[in-house]
Structures are given as structure tokens and as C-alpha cells.
Amino acid sequence: MSIGLEHYIILSAVLFAIGLYGALSKRNAIVILMSIEIMLNAVNIAMVAFSRYIVPALLTGHIFAIFIIVVAAAEATVGLAIIIGIYRNRETIDASQINLMKW
């Protein structure tokens, strides 16, 4: 059995679904942040796979993936900083408690 594009995409989809599930269902803000990282990496896999199998001569997908890694790092930094800020104010990082936006 040779590994084809569809395998990468299925892996990517599974990872994305896991990440999405974690981002929507977990209470802990740090776990949510981790789930988002998983989703971003799922996207990275899809990007690289498409690039490798569809336009092998170009590097567009790779470049995109590197960009996403950079942005994800920055996002994690900012996200963690926000979580620390929230924790200082509200003594919790439970996402269900952070509901100031409600009516």
C-alpha cells in the first residue's frame, strides 16, 4: 500500500476534527489553546500534502505552512498572555466562567 494524497487529507481532517472538538468542548483555556494548535497543524499537513502531490514544482504550500507555524507561535504567545491576564483578574481560566459578553 502506497501512501497517497487522500491519506494525508484524512489525517489532516481527523486532526482538525479532534482539535475542533477540543476547542469547543474543553473548559480549560490552555487546553483550548492547545486544541487550536492541533487544528492549525492539521491545516499545515493539508497544505504540505497538496503542495507535494498537486504542484510539486512550486513551494507555495510549504511557504504557507511556515507562515502558519510562525503565526501559530505568535498566536500561542498572545493567547497565553491573555490567559494569564484573565487569571490575574478572575482567578480562573475556566472558559465557561469567562462570560462577560453575555447580555
Binding site: 475542533l20 476547542a23 469547543l24 468542548s25 483550548i32 472558559a95 465557561s96 469567562i98 462570560n99 462577560l100 459578553m101 453575555k102 447580555w103
Partner: protein, 641 residues
Amino acid sequence: MPYQFVWLIFLLPLFSFIIIAFFIRPFVSSESKVAGYITIAAIGSCMVLSFWALASVMAAPDHKILIPDIEWVVIEDAITISLGLMLDSLTAVMLLVVTIVSLMVQIYSQAYMKGDPGYHRYYAAMSLFTMSMLGLVLANSLLLMFVFWEMVGLCSYLLIGFWFHRPSAADAAKKAFIVTRLGDFGFLIAILSLYYNTGTFDIQELHSLAISGALAGTTLTWAAIGIFAGAAGKSAQFPLHVWLPDAMEGPTPVSALIHAATMVAAGVFLVARTFPLFEHSTEALTTVAVIGAFTAIFAASMGLVMDDIKRVLAYSTISQLGYMMLGLGTGGVAVGIFHLFNHAFFKALLFLGAGSVSHASGGTFDMRLMGGLRKVMPWTYITFVIGSLSLAGVWPLSGFWSKDEILATTLESQPILFWLALITVFMTAFYMFRAVFITFHGEYRGGAQDAHGGHDSHDGHSGPHESPPVMVVPLVILAFLGIVSGWWNVTGGFDVFMGHGETYGFFERFFSVLTHSLPLISLLVALAGIFLAYAMYQAKWLSPERIGDMFKPLYILFSRKYWLDELYENIIVKIVTLKVLFGGLEKIDTYAVDGTVNGIANGAIASGRAIRHAQTGQLQLYGLFIGIGILAIIIVVYLAG
């Protein structure tokens, strides 16, 4: 007569109004009499022109003078409304009445209104009124007539409420305006329905349509009844008569001009002007005759018991207007208008006489406070008696001739109404001479106690005295006309001028009272009325109190005016209109209109309150919804291909 002069008849008082209202009133002190002189000059010129108009109408073929129209409103291919005057025999007679009475009243007012702070306002309104009234009689289309019709109503309002600081005068003005508006509504509907059915406002075209039969049946009947409703409002016919007695709150010369001689006769004039419409509808003509006869006796019965001299005259006016309507309904234009013509002079005379009496006795109109004035004011006394005799219908004064014609035509076509009319003759003679005996005979009973507060007494209260010559001269002129104006038709000349009838020898008809039974009967009935008044109030053979007690229920009924004021005020205005009609409308407003508006707002609030629970503030829930949404879009796109 060149037609420009006809326009001038109507424009001169307008100029005088503009000059007084815009140039004199703001800048000249109210002590100055210049406003009065301007009005008198304008109306005097109108009178001269009216005589000229009468002469030229008499000379003209068909008694008509054509005046070119001016286009007023032109909508291409749809409507052309023209502004036009017409001058025929009816107009010429009315012009004469309006200008002569108006001139006499303006001269009289120079003394009567002297020193009133509203002197300029008075003359401005009087000029405007005269202009509107002349426009009304000259107008050649119903639309233009309606404009002037409303303008005379407005002037009537302004002049009844002349002393607007008195609540009773302000109320009377409102009442007059509102009650006549009720009738005007019918008039307006009639005009619109005529226009809808014929496409014209022009009176002469409507005449020919009615005569040719193109306009007939229910349309014609309802239009005629609508017009009569307007006429009944202005001419104070039952059941819209209630405003006229209250209108006596205005200055007395105003009552003489507007509420006796001219404006209230406008209703009669309107019916006469549109007479072919009535002539071709038996129902409408019968309505006019019946309402007229009923009003005549109904108002006369109330006149029997009034203590205020002006109110006696007011009820007498209503009654005589009923007579004119009866004359129109049974005998045609000439009969009704002839009575209008005579009535205008002697009724204006009587009102001016009442003003003179009130002037003498300290500003009151209550006859019980007068008495014995015969000795101190002989001119007023003589002229007042002439007016009363004429009104009562005593041979050979003018009232006799026109009343006799009405009785004769009524006997021919409506025998039942004839008896009502004959009883009215008796009542008229009785109440007029009751007023004469109470006011002028017996002992002086002191006049008004608070003479200095009275508006009509300007030179203090130094006992009764004759009025100044400026007031007496118009009385004498009107008394002269009150005697002779009826002689115009002794020869049948008036009937011929109006377009039907035949001529007789003057002396043959003049003494017909001796040879014919009907004139003799009406004369005897009138004399009987005078005699009864003499017996009760002068000779005191019969005590008025005893008779009043004998007929107590009737006395109460008459003196409370059949409770019609209470009926209108308490039942129709307060319950039917305010509670039921306006209450119903208020409920519609509250529940339907406001309900819809508030309902939309409340619906928005309620749905918002229900939906906002979705806004939990849980970021993850929002994310879930976004995810579900994207999934749904993907599925839809996938399925739709």
C-alpha cells in the same frame, strides 16, 4: 351698464376693507372716524351703482346682462373653473337690498359704535361682510358662491364675537359658525354631486339642464335637498335655527345688517337662485314649503314669550325667513324674494330701532326695564311702530303685500300649511305689539342699573333720551322704505321683473283689501293680534300673568325654547357626538392605531427578550454554532452540486 362697473360693485367694499384693515387700523387712533367714512363712501358708491345696475337690467332683454368670465383654474383637457359674475333681475334686487341696508347700517353705526375701542375692526369686518355678500349675490357659479357663502359666515362669526371678551359673545359666535357649517356640509355635497353628474358649476347651465330634464330624478332631488340644507343653516330654518337668537350677542347694527336683512336671507336667495332645480323636483319643493311653514309658526311661538327685545326680533326673523321659504316652496321666486325684499327694510329698521332704544335706556335689551319711551324718543317710536305694522302685515304697508301673496299661493297649493301661516300672522302681530307696548308705553322702569358697564351706552346714563340724528335719519329712511317698498308689486311689476306674472292697475289692486276676502282675512287676523296685545299690555283688560298661568305648560315650553338648546347641548353634542362618536373614534385610536404601533414595538421587545438567551457569552458555544453553520453550508453546497 359696462360690465366693469359690475365688478366694481363688488370690489369697492373690498378696497375699503383693505384700506381700513391694513392702513388705518394700525396707524390711526380709534377716536378717528375715518374708517366709517371710507366704508360709507364705498358702500354709498355701491348703492349708486346698484341702482344703475337695476335700471340697466330692467332695460336689458330677458332682464340679463352678460359679463365675460375670467379663467381661474385651468387644468388642460380636464377642468376649467371660471370666475364670473352674473347680473339678472334676482341679482339686481338683492344688490339693492344689500347696499341700501348696509349703507343705512354703516351710517347708524357711526353714532352707535362711537368710542368703541374696536371701531376700526368693526368697520373693516363690515366692509368685508358687504363685499362677501355682494359677491354672493353676483356669483355665477355655485363654487364661487360657496366661497362667498363661507366668507359671509366668517364675517358673521367675527361680528357676533365682536365683543369677544364676553364669554357669551364668544360662545354665540362659535355656535353660529358651527351650526351653519352643518348646513354648509350639505351644500358642499350638493355642489360636488352636481359637478360629478353634470360637469359644471355654472348656475345658468344647471338651470338649463334641470329645465331640459337632463338633470332629473333622485340626483336632482338630493342635490336640491343638499342645497336647501345649506340654505336652512344660513337662514336659520328648523332644526338649525338655534344659532340666530344667540347671535344677538353682536352689536345691534350687526344684527340689523347680517342677522336680519342680508346674510340670513342668503339661504332664501340661494334657493331662489337655484330655483329650477327645486321646481323640477316635487319632493324638494315640498320640503322647502313644509320646513318653511313649520319654522314660521315654531319660531313665532317662541317670540311670544321673550323678554329681550332683540330676541323677540330674532325669533321674528326666523319666522319671517320661514315665510320666505314657504313663499318659494309654494309660489316661486318672485313671491319669496319679494318678501325678502320688503322684510330686509322693515326688519333692519326694527333692529336699528331696538338699538336706539337700548342706547336710550342704558344699554339693556330687556323690555321689562324699559317702558314709556314713546314720549322721550318720538322718532324711534314712530319708526318702530311703522316697522312693526309692516311686519305684522297691516295694509297698506310693505309687509302686507308680500305676506298676502305668500298666503294666497299657499292656499292654492298647500292648504294645510295655509292655516299654519295664518296663525303665524296672528302671532307675529301679537308679539310685535307686545314689544311695542312694553317698550314704549306705560311708565319708564329705570333702564339698566349698571349703565356704565354697558357697552351700548357711551355717554353715561342721564335718563332716557332720543338718539342723535345720525341714528335717527337711517331709521326714517328705512321706515319710508318699509312703507313703500311693497308697492312695487301692487301693479305686479315685481313679478314681471322676476320673469312671471302679469300687471294690474295700481288702484284696482291697492284697494283689493276691500274687495277680496283673503287680503281682508289676513288683515283682520293681524289686527286681532294687535288688539290682543293692546288688551293685555296697554289697556290691561287681561292680565298677562293670569294668561301665562292658564297656559303654564305652553308658556314654559315656549320660554325654554322647546328645550332644543338643551337637546342639542346635552344629548347631541355631549352624548351622541362626544361620547358615542368621538368616544368610539378614541377607542379606535387607542386600540387599533396605537395598538398596531405599540404592538410592533412590543413584538420586537418580546422576541428580543426570547432570543437573547442564545447570547450566553460562552465563546465555545458561538464557535459550535459557527462550526454547525459551516458544516451546513458545506452540506448544502455538496448536495446542490
